[in-house]
Symmetry: C2
Subunit: 204 residues, 2 copies
Amino acid sequence: MNIITISREFGSGGRELGKRIADALGYAYYDREIITAIAEKHEMNEHYVENVLENGFPTAFPISYGRTFSFTDVAGQHAIDLLSTQCTLLKELAARENCVIVGRSANVILEEYNPLNIFVYADLESKIKRCRERASENESLTDNEMKKKFKQIDAGRAKHQRFLSDAKWGDKSGYHMCINTSGLVIKNIAPVVADFAKHYFECI
Amino acid sequence: MNIITISREFGSGGRELGKRIADALGYAYYDREIITAIAEKHEMNEHYVENVLENGFPTAFPISYGRTFSFTDVAGQHAIDLLSTQCTLLKELAARENCVIVGRSANVILEEYNPLNIFVYADLESKIKRCRERASENESLTDNEMKKKFKQIDAGRAKHQRFLSDAKWGDKSGYHMCINTSGLVIKNIAPVVADFAKHYFECI
């Protein structure tokens, strides 16, 4: 199977790029569906599952986290169970069909499948602009609050990958291509990346 | 003018990629020609000029370095003069025609021209393989000697850029695209990168 993983800085347009690459190549696309599937399997609240998997392993747990009840001392076990389910699920997807997977440390979890690993990033100005365009009317963060949010989310992604691999999140040596989307139109670069993917899968 | 700069790890195939992109786009291509022009202007030995500009500013100077004669204490001045000529020359080229420039810290020297900056890299195994394929019969370095050579040359490039800019050589934030050529056929990815370049120049 041909697997493309997209790792991305928050606000860089990586998710849109992944979706468009999948469309261009006729591949399946997985992003939030993975969180939904994990939450269903564990009968947990999606938001809680996402929080644990996106932001690394929490040091403080909420008293209530969805449909299950648990004491604080088993919360660490929950985190490990969620990650284990994520690994199993990703491997099932990778064995089933050509696909693009956004986030979820799929680049390291699926290493044995020789995925094409892409990292998407952008400068701060572009990320703020992109987030403002997407934001709902009720969400009015200042630039500084946005920077803080970017930093926090990306730190969580890095922390998550660090738990799984020695390969540093965002270090170009762990990816086949890194794309800076600053000032670019995602729609227009998606076919270019799709072409690169085609070539990569011809070579391996 | 549309300017593409290629920075690259030694042995990653960046030079070939640059040449093929230039051919695909019908752009001029500059690489060694720049060293030749600087050497001619200063009436110096090309090898000496290259050594100073590629490996950063030497701490030990040869007694004789080409057609000129000089005392050691003016050698530092020479290095600055060479770099100054390089900057002037690169800016003349950038103002003259669409082009691809390989190395020479063109990415930072030509910042005001909004170049498309590409970084080319590869894993150690691929770089060794590529260098062995290109090497003459007389050149028989061991793997360890090759690694040492890669490290030394790349350190020189990084040092050179550090003299000109705060942007760290090889740090992806300073480039629009970073391409890992490990296991790839340069001839086949060149058209993809050329397409990316076309899109970039349409956007800026």
